[in-house]
C-alpha cells in the first residue's frame, strides 16, 4: 500500500513509518497541515493517516473536508488524542473513515489501515467467501468446512463473516467489538477471546490445519497460509 502520514510528532511519525515499512508499505510523511494537504491532493494514495491537531492554521479535519469536497475518495484514518464520543462523531462526520485514539498500539493501526484499504476496493456482500476449505455463503447463510456443514449462531456468523472478509489480515479485538457488536467502548474483560475460542471450536476443532489464529499482541487472523 502507498500511505500518507500527516503527523507532527516526530517520535510517533518515526514509529509509524518504520512499522509500516516493516509491514511492506511505502509511506510519505507530512509534518504540517499545508504539506499534508498538498500531498493528499496531488499524489494517489491507498490510504491516509491524518493527525487531528496539527501545527499551523490547517487542522486535520479541515484537510479532510477540503479533500472530500474536491471529490477525493481516498480512505482516511483519523489519529487523535481527543477520545470523546462526540469528537469521534465529529471526525467521522467530516469525512474520515475510521478514528483511532492516541496512544495506540501499532498493530491496531496496521489492522485498521488494512481493513480500510480492503473496504475501499469494494465489498460484494453476495459473493461467497472462501478461506482454504472454509466456505461461507452470505446469501444462504450456510457455512461449511470441507464437506461438513457448520451451524453458527447469528452473532458467530457475523464474527466469522467479518474475519473472512478480512482474511489474511490481522483483526484486532477493538475492531471486532466495533464491527460485530457495535460496542464503542472497552468491556475491560477478555470476552472477545471467549467468543473466538467458541468459534474456533466450531470451525477448527476437528481439522488438522487451524484457520483462525491468534496474533500475539495484536488480535486474530483467518488465513489458509502458513
Amino acid at each position: 500500500m502507498k500511505i500518507l502520514l500527516v503527523e507532527d510528532n516526530e517520535r510517533v511519525s518515526q514509529f509509524v513509518i518504520k512499522g509500516l515499512q516493516e509491514a511492506g508499505h511505502t509511506t510519505d510523511h507530512a509534518a504540517n497541515g499545508r504539506d499534508g494537504m498538498f500531498l493528499a491532493a496531488s499524489e494517489p494514495y491507498d490510504v491516509i493517516v491524518m493527525d487531528r491537531m496539527l501545527p499551523g492554521d490547517i487542522d486535520g479535519l479541515a484537510i479532510i473536508e477540503v479533500l472530500r469536497k474536491a471529490g477525493k475518495r481516498t480512505p482516511i484514518l483519523i489519529l487523535s488524542a481527543l477520545s470523546d464520543v462526540d469528537d469521534r462523531i465529529r471526525g467521522l462526520r467530516s469525512g474520515g473513515d475510521d478514528y483511532l485514539t492516541k496512544p495506540f498500539a501499532f498493530g491496531e493501526l496496521l489492522a485498521r489501515l488494512d481493513a480500510l484499504h480492503r473496504r475501499a476496493q469494494g465489498v460484494n456482500h453476495e459473493i461467497p467467501l472462501t478461506v482454504g476449505n472454509l466456505h461461507m455463503d452470505p446469501m444462504t447463510r450456510k457455512v461449511s468446512r470441507g464437506d461438513r456443514q457448520i451451524t453458527l449462531q447469528p452473532r458467530e456468523f457475523k464474527l466469522l463473516e467479518y474475519l473472512m472478509r478480512h482474511a489474511d489480515q490481522v483483526v484486532t479485538r477493538t475492531m471486532l467489538l466495533e464491527n460485530v457488536w457495535d460496542y464503542h467502548f472497552d468491556p475491560q474483560t477478555n470476552v472477545v477471546d471467549v467468543h473466538i475460542s467458541k468459534l474456533r471450536q466450531k470451525i477448527d476443532a476437528e481439522f488438522e490445519r487451524p484457520l483462525l489464529r491468534t496474533v500475539r499482541n495484536a488480535g486474530y487472523m483467518v488465513t489458509a497460509g502458513e
Binding site: A81, L82, D182
Partner: protein, 478 residues
C-alpha cells in the same frame, strides 16, 4: 462597605417617605381647600346676618337708634371681635370701633381687606358693607378667629410629615443595619469558603424570609460543591494510587532491563510486559475520561429513542460464552414496551459493566438474571441479579464510588470503575443505581424514568469548553 447613598434599604426607605408625603399632601390639599371655602361662606353668612340685624334696627327705629344700639353693643363688649362702623354718605363715622371709613368701596357686598384695628394693628378682616338709606354700614370680623384652628391644622400636618420622615429614615437605617449585619455574616462565610474551607455554611433561621431562602439555596449549592470537590479529591487520590502502581511496576521493569541488560529473548518479554503495563494505565485513563465526559453531562445532547431490551439482549448474548465458561446460567427476560430516550453507547456500556460485574462475583454454576421491564408511568427498569455473595449494607454506597474495590473483588481483574460508570450513566439518565440484597446475591436496578430526556438542554458554552479541557488532559500523547 456600601455607601449610604447606594444602600438599597435606605433608597427604599426614602422612596416610601416620599410616597407618604405625596399621600399626605393629596389628602390635606383638598381638605384645606374645602375647609377654607366652608369657613369663608360661613363667615359671610354670619356677617350678613349681623348686618341684617343692624339693618332691622335702622328700619324699625331709625339711624339714631342704630347708633345707640351699636354704641351699646360695643360698650357692653358683646360685639366680640366684630368690627362695626356706621358712617354717613361722606364717610364720616357716626358709631362703631373704627376711626374712619377704611379702604373699602361703599358699594354693598363682601370684601376681604386689611384694616388698621388700632390696638390690634393691621389685620385681614372679612367685611360686609350694606347701604342703609344715606348711611353706610360696615360689619367685619377679625380673620384671626379661625387662626388657631388653621394653626393647629398646619401643626398637625407638619407633625405628621416630621413623624413620617423621621420614622421612615429610622426604619431605613435600622433595616439597613440589620440587613448589613446579615449580609456581612454571609460575606464572611463566603470569604471563608473562598479561602478553601468548604465546611462553612450560612446561618439560617426557621423563617421563610428572602435572605433565609437565599441562604438555604446557597447552602444546598455548597453541599453539592463540597460533595463534588470531595469526589474530585477522592478521584485524584485514587488516580494517584491506581496509576502509580502500574507506573511504578513499569518503571522498575524498565530500569531493571537497563541495569541487567538480559539476553534479547528475556529483554523482549520484559518489553512486552512493559507495553501491557502501559496499556493498563491507558485503560484507567480512558475510563476516567469517559466518566468525566458523562459527569459533565455533555452526552445528553446525544439522547435518542433506544430499545433497552435490544441493548440488554446484545449484552447478554455478548457475555453468554463467558458465563458458559464459568457454568453460570445467564438468563434474559424482556417485558412490555422498553423504548427509552437515552444514549445507546453509554447504556450499552453500563449494561455491559453490570453483567461483567455480576459474572466476576457469581460463583461457578451460579445464576445471573437480566430483566428489562416497563413500569407503570412509562419508566423502564433494567435489573441485573446474581446469586453471588452480595454486598454488605455498609459497602453498598461505597461500591459505586470511583476506584472502590470491595474485599470480595481482591484478586479479580478490573480497576474499580465499572459500577461508578454505571452509576454515572444512571445519573445522566435522571436515575440512580439501586442495590439490594437477594439473600444470597445482589440485585442492581437501573430505572430509566419516562422523561429521561433532558428537561433543560445543556449549556452551549459548557459543551464548547469541556471537550477542550478533556483534550488538554488527553493531549499528552501528541
Amino acid at each position: 462597605m456600601t455607601s449610604v447613598v447606594r444602600s438599597s434599604a435606605l433608597t427604599l426607605a426614602l422612596g416610601y417617605i416620599a410616597l407618604g408625603l405625596v399621600a399626605l399632601v393629596l389628602f390635606a390639599a383638598p381638605l384645606w381647600y374645602a375647609w377654607q371655602g366652608t369657613i369663608r361662606e360661613g363667615r359671610a353668612e354670619i356677617l350678613q346676618a349681623d348686618a341684617q340685624r343692624l339693618a332691622d334696627v335702622y328700619r324699625r327705629d331709625g339711624a339714631l337708634a342704630l347708633k345707640n344700639f351699636i354704641d351699646a353693643r360695643l360698650r357692653m363688649r358683646i360685639a366680640g371681635d366684630r368690627t362695626l362702623l356706621l358712617a354717613d354718605a361722606g364717610g364720616h363715622p357716626l358709631a362703631g370701633n373704627l376711626d374712619g371709613w377704611p379702604n373699602v368701596p361703599t358699594v354693598p357686598g363682601d370684601y376681604r381687606v386689611k384694616i388698621d384695628l388700632g390696638s390690634k394693628g393691621m389685620q385681614t378682616v372679612l367685611v360686609h358693607v350694606a347701604a342703609l338709606g344715606n348711611y353706610n354700614l360696615l360689619v367685619g370680623r377679625d380673620n384671626r378667629l379661625f387662626a388657631p384652628l388653621e394653626e393647629r391644622f398646619w401643626y398637625g400636618l407638619t407633625g405628621a410629615i416630621a413623624v413620617l420622615s423621621i420614622a421612615g429614615l429610622l426604619i431605613g437605617v435600622i433595616t439597613r443595619r440589620a440587613l448589613m449585619s446579615r449580609v456581612d455574616s454571609i460575606r464572611q462565610t463566603v470569604s471563608a469558603i473562598i479561602h478553601g474551607d468548604l465546611a462553612h455554611r450560612l446561618p439560617t433561621h426557621l423563617s421563610d424570609d428572602e435572605l433565609n431562602t437565599l441562604s438555604r439555596t446557597i447552602n444546598g449549592m455548597l453541599d453539592q460543591i463540597e460533595q463534588l470537590v470531595r469526589g474530585v479529591r477522592n478521584v485524584s487520590n485514587s488516580i494517584a494510587h491506581d496509576l502509580r502502581t502500574p507506573l511504578a511496576e513499569l518503571r522498575s521493569r524498565l530500569e531493571e532491563l537497563a541495569l541487567i541488560r538480559p539476553p534479547p529473548e528475556q529483554a523482549f518479554s520484559e518489553v512486552d510486559g512493559a507495553v501491557a503495563d502501559v496499556d493498563r494505565v491507558i485503560r484507567i485513563f480512558d475510563a476516567l475520561l469517559r466518566l468525566a465526559e458523562i459527569d459533565a453531562g455533555l452526552r445528553r445532547s446525544g439522547f435518542v429513542a433506544v430499545d433497552a431490551a435490544d441493548l440488554a439482549a446484545t449484552a447478554v448474548e455478548f457475555y453468554a460464552p463467558a458465563a458458559e465458561l464459568k457454568g453460570i446460567a445467564l438468563n434474559f427476560r424482556a417485558d412490555g414496551p422498553t423504548t427509552v430516550a437515552g444514549d445507546p453507547v453509554l447504556l450499552a456500556q453500563a449494561l455491559s459493566n453490570l453483567i461483567d460485574n455480576a459474572l466476576k462475583f457469581t460463583p461457578n454454576d451460579g445464576m445471573i438474571r437480566v430483566a428489562v421491564q416497563s413500569r407503570p408511568g412509562g419508566s423502564v427498569e433494567i435489573s441485573v441479579a446474581d446469586n453471588g455473595p452480595g454486598i454488605d449494607d455498609a459497602e453498598k454506597a461505597k461500591v459505586v464510588e470511583r476506584f472502590y474495590r470491595g474485599d470480595a473483588s481482591r484478586g479479580t481483574p478490573g480497576v474499580g470503575l465499572g459500577l461508578s460508570l454505571a452509576q454515572a450513566v444512571a445519573k445522566l439518565h435522571g436515575s440512580a443505581l439501586e442495590l439490594s440484597d437477594l439473600n444470597p446475591g445482589l440485585s442492581v436496578l437501573l430505572t430509566i424514568p419516562a422523561d429521561s430526556a433532558p428537561a433543560t438542554p445543556p449549556a452551549a458554552d459548557a459543551a464548547a469548553s469541556d471537550p477542550a479541557r478533556l483534550a488538554g488532559m488527553a493531549a499528552t500523547g501528541s
